[in-house]
């Protein structure tokens, strides 16, 4: 841990254009270190005091053939002097490292946008691999953009020419940091954070370390001294933020820490059972490293065993958590039903991705809401909560654990690929401020019955093996009320179904009242859940610029809903629900509250753009139909289809 205090560097003689916000996208071949470049830029930008949001765009293949279109990897960041809610609808500045990256991403750049091109790979061979018949640098096709082209690799080699103990190949690899130096200069970012990162990362190899440090500084200096960059020099002053200690965090990182926090606060060993699956594997990786917190991580043989083992661990007194994505939730349904019937504290995390079936493993979607509600057979209610931002993953992982233990009930937490990998500045919470998670195991044999319930929460006792005098049997067969033995009696079954439903329904009181943000007196309410939060806020900002009034309520407790949900949505003349699915929350709200909600849906494996939300707002306010899935085409697809 280090707190790096940095100031924006002085660049005398340069007149910088001050802007409120910029969106930058880095793109290159997947072996080119685009993610590293992007994440370093992000950390530096966060420390420079801007609000930001990021989203990586990973290729689906582990390693597609070098230089091809499917091998392109990208990273986008929007940063600002004011609030940032999304990683940006489209880049203002595109930095590309090879022809394939240019081809895939150039159509997303707005007219007069800036494209910085590393010309090193713009030879006949690479151009052909990217499907270019003519060289775009020469045929005028880039005329509507502001093009900065430079052979960054050559320039890097030149800058490092005096280093004797580093091979030419190693020097060429430093071009990432050279390019990063260029990016830092364009936006006046300090170099210190990345210089320190390089020193740490390469401390075992001082020569390579020095080469990379020199490359970073050289990229920065190069821009200082080269005229063509002067016209694209920007300044984005720091954003006003609440005082406190901040760090940059991705959703999955925040999630892992939320689970650890719950383990510490409850005093229960965290048992995390999981099977590797994109985009949830990182949670397992992160927790596996934290053994000094006593975390037991278990890479199970399959998704079913992951949840089954988690249930066994919860039965024996651990805080049981499993994490997966859509396909895993499907597999876990039967075991989840066992958790419902045995009323054990387990948390099931779904980091949603494009479906159905294998779908789009590296793309985001939020189409598992119905699955979380209804994948278990029978009347099998479970709690469902969902964070709205990467940072909220911490709070909701923690809350899922707290609710599971308090009510002895399985809790689903729905995140998605965008939240998991996207990052934002996060105010570090004080551990003393976290809600307590009291745990009281059953211990007194007198009057003990395995299903004798707490009158307020309806939770049954947590009676763990090893406790003398409480020996009892539980299982998946229906239970006699209170006594907990097997029962097939008709009235008892109905009673138990009602009790299990009532237990979940009472959890509504744990949900803070649904808040209406924005214009309280608006005609239109946007209701959303999960990661659409950022896009909705950004879309509303665009609407405000056009003088339109919009209210926004974002639901984090999806089952049960907050107690005032019906009241909130019935208050407005028009209600629109944007979702990255075909209308799941819309269906639930309509069915439950009899309100005619307009669904605004898209299922492209991409987050909503702010302007898509704006278009929906305008359509609904004008009484016109909104755009439906299938009615629009998105840029990259045209390219990949050879269009």
């Amino acid at each position: 841990m280090s707190t790096v205090e940095t100031q924006a560097p002085k660049t005398p003689g340069v007149s910088r254009k001050v802007v409120d916000r910029v969106t930058v996208r880095f793109a290159g071949d997947s072996g080119d270190g685009v993610q590293l470049t992007g994440s370093q830029f992000t950390t530096t930008t966060a420390i420079a005091g801007n609000d930001l949001a990021t989203v990586p765009d990973y290729p689906a293949e582990i390693r597609a053939p070098a230089g091809t279109l499917p091998g392109v990897s990208a990273y986008q960041i929007q940063f600002s002097s004011s609030e940032v809610h999304t990683a940006g609808d489209q880049p203002d500045v595109l930095v590309v490292f090879n022809p394939a990256a240019l081809r895939v991403h150039i159509n997303d750049l707005g007219p007069n946008g800036i494209v910085v091109i590393d010309t090193n790979q713009f030879d006949a061979g690479h151009l052909a691999k990217a499907g270019y018949e003519k060289n775009p640098l020469e045929d005028g096709s880039l005329n509507k953009y502001r093009v900065i082209k430079e052979n960054l690799t050559e320039k890097t080699l030149l800058a490092l020419k005096d280093l004797k103990d580093v091979s030419a190949k190693e020097k060429a690899r430093c071009k990432n940091f050279f390019a990063l130096g260029v990016a830092y200069w364009l936006f006046n970012r300090p170099l210190e954070t990345t210089l320190k990162y390089i020193s740490d990362k390469f401390k075992k190899d001082p020569d390579v370390c020095e080469a990379n440090r020199m490359a970073l500084k050289a990229g920065f200096s190069y821009c200082e001294m080269t005229d063509m960059f002067q016209a694209v020099a920007y300044e984005i002053p720091p954003a006003p933020t609440q005082p406190g200690l901040y760090r940059n965090i991705s959703g999955n990182q925040a999630l892992a820490m939320g689970l650890i926090a719950a383990s510490v606060k409850s005093g229960r060993t965290l048992f995390y059972g999981a099977y590797p699956i994109t985009p949830a594997s990182d949670i397992l990786h992160e927790l596996s490293k934290l053994k000094n917190f006593g975390v037991v991580t278990f890479q199970a043989e399959d998704e079913i065993a992951a949840l089954a083992a988690t249930i066994g661990a919860a039965y024996a007194g651990s805080l049981g958590v499993t994490g997966t994505s859509g396909p895993g939730i499907a597999l876990k349904a039967e075991a989840a039903g066992l958790a419902v019937m045995t009323e054990l504290p387990v948390v099931i995390i779904d980091v949603q991705r494009g479906g159905p079936s294998t779908g789009l493993p590296t793309k985001t979607e939020q189409a598992d809401l119905m699955q979380a509600l209804y994948s278990r057979h029978g009347e099998s209610p479970a709690v469902i909560i969902a964070p709205a931002t990467p940072g909220e993953n911490f709070d909701f992982a923690y809350e899922a654990c707290r609710l599971a233990i308090k009510y002895m009930v399985p809790v689903y937490m729905l995140s998605d690929g965008y939240l998991a990998n996207g990052a934002e500045p996060w105010k570090v919470p004080a551990t003393a401020d976290l809600k307590p998670i009291p745990v009281e195991f059953a211990s007194n044999p007198e009057n003990f019955l395995p299903y004798r319930r707490n009158p307020e929460t309806l939770a049954r006792p947590w009676a763990i093996p090893g406790t003398p005098g409480l020996e009892h049997r539980i299982g998946g067969i229906e239970k006699r009320e209170t006594v907990g033995t097997v029962s097939y009696e008709p009235d008892n079954h109905e009673r138990m179904v009602v009790i299990r439903a009532e237990k979940v329904a009472r959890i509504a009181k744990e949900a803070p009242p649904l808040k209406i943000e924005g214009d309280q007196d608006a005609e239109l309410l946007i209701v959303g859940w999960g990661s659409t939060y950022g896009a909705i806020r950004a879309g509303i900002e665009l609407a405000h610029q056009k003088g339109l009034k919009v209210a926004h309520a974002h639901i984090r407790y999806l089952n049960p809903f907050p107690a005032n949900t019906g009241e909130v949505i019935k208050k407005f003349k028009k209600v629109m629900c944007p979702e990255m699915n075909m209308g799941q929350l819309s269906l639930l709200l309509r069915g439950r509250f009899l309100v005619d909600i307009v669904p605004l849906n898209q299922v492209k494996g991409q987050p909503f753009k702010a302007r898509e939300i704006l278009a929906g707002i305008e359509a609904v306010l004008a009484g016109k139909p909104v755009v439906k899935p299938g009615q629009t085409k998105q840029g990259a697809e045209d390219v990949l289809e050879g269009g």
């Binding site: 901040y246 043989e301 919860a314 093996p465 020996e471 009892h472 539980i474 998946g476």
Partner: protein, 342 residues
């Protein structure tokens, strides 16, 4: 582990009745499970282990009703998944003595995957597989151990599957303790259960069990009082493989196979017979024995030691704490690059 002379905690004294729950046993009259239940309750009572430390974990099937009849902690889980649930139980509290009750359908059909992984991990689970070569609870379909051509409700023209051999499978899955017995060998079963309790690591015991309603007499060859001395061979560590009513037959190695020989004929003596070795590191001997069906080997095929999964997992945790100190939540949250806003 303390080396000081500690006050010895007196071992609890139980009787069989202490391990009987108040539930009326609902297996069919004449079912082999009654005998197994009785032997288990007897064996548990003698182990000197506090009753609260026992956990019975079962899947689905007639076998899996077992936990309801034993007065210990019990978890009747879902079909095939008991090994996974039990692994979680053992990992959460390695001090518990976890017994896993399953059947040929539960463990070898839907549960085959989980069984293999539990065994190869060497999790300290004592797995009792009641093999009756049929699906009893669902009223008579064939199972993975049913013989080819078995006519059942779902295979009226005879089953097409070649059966799997549970002992061979367990050995291939690297199980560290593998044994076979039958429901009517009550004393033998009790002894095996005592050995199972003492073994650190996975235990796999195939219990040939008679389903009196849907597959009566499946093991008659081996269990019938008149025939059995000639139809089975007792495995005893360090002893030659002799069987037969008059102890006049034996098994001897012929190339990579085992052949039945008559003692005294063609100069065959006890010295020619294969001597059983439970503790061979290699599974080869045990595997060879597992392929023999006549005479059917009864007893312990393999008993070796290998560090258990839970012990190694907690070792890593302890090592990590020693290396990095106990986890500090505040430090974790403030990790990475941070900056202050005043």
């Amino acid at each position: 582990m303390t080396t000081a002379i500690a006050q010895e905690v007196p071992k609890p004294k139980y009787t069989k009745a202490d391990f009987q729950s108040d539930q009326e046993v609902r297996w069919c009259p004449g079912c082999g499970d009654y005998a197994i239940l009785s032997a288990a309750q007897q064996a548990f009572a003698r182990l000197g282990v506090p009753r609260e430390k026992f956990v019975m974990v079962s899947g689905i099937g007639c076998s899996s009703r077992f936990p309801y009849y034993v007065n210990t902690y019990g978890f009747h889980t879902i079909h095939g998944r008991a090994p996974a649930v039990a692994t979680g139980v053992k990992m959460a509290n390695p001090e518990l003595q976890v017994w896993l009750i399953t059947g040929d359908g539960d463990a070898l059909s839907i549960g085959g995957n989980h069984l293999m992984h539990a065994l190869r991990r060497n999790v300290g689970l004592k797995i009792l597989l009641f093999n009756n070569r049929i699906y009893g609870l669902t009223k008579g379909q064939y199972s993975p151990t049913s013989e080819v051509g078995k006519v059942t409700k779902s295979t009226p023209y005879g089953s097409l599957d070649h059966p799997v051999n549970p002992i061979s499978l367990a050995l291939a899955a690297e199980a560290t303790f593998v044994a076979r017995t039958a429901d009517i060998y009550i004393k033998h079963l009790e002894d095996l259960l005592a050995r199972a309790a003492a073994h650190e690591g996975s235990v796999f015991i195939e219990i040939l069990q008679n389903c009196v309603i849907f597959n009566d007499g499946a093991f008659k060859d081996v269990t019938d009082r008149v025939m059995r001395d000639d139809r089975q061979v007792q495995l005893e560590h360090g002893k030659p493989l002799i069987f037969g009513k008059g102890r006049d037959k034996g098994l001897r190695l012929k190339g990579l196979d085992l052949e039945v020989v008559e003692m005294g004929k063609d100069g065959v003596t006890e010295k020619d017979l294969l001597v059983h070795d439970e503790h061979c590191e290699s599974q080869a001997l045990a595997y060879l024995l597992s392929r023999v069906e006549a005479p059917l080997p009864i007893g312990v095929f393999r008993d070796i030691n290998r560090p258990t999964f839970e012990r190694r997992a907690y070792h890593q945790i302890d090592d990590s704490k020693k290396k990095y100190g106990n986890g500090d939540l505040d430090r974790l949250l403030k990790g990475g690059e941070t900056w202050s806003v005043k």
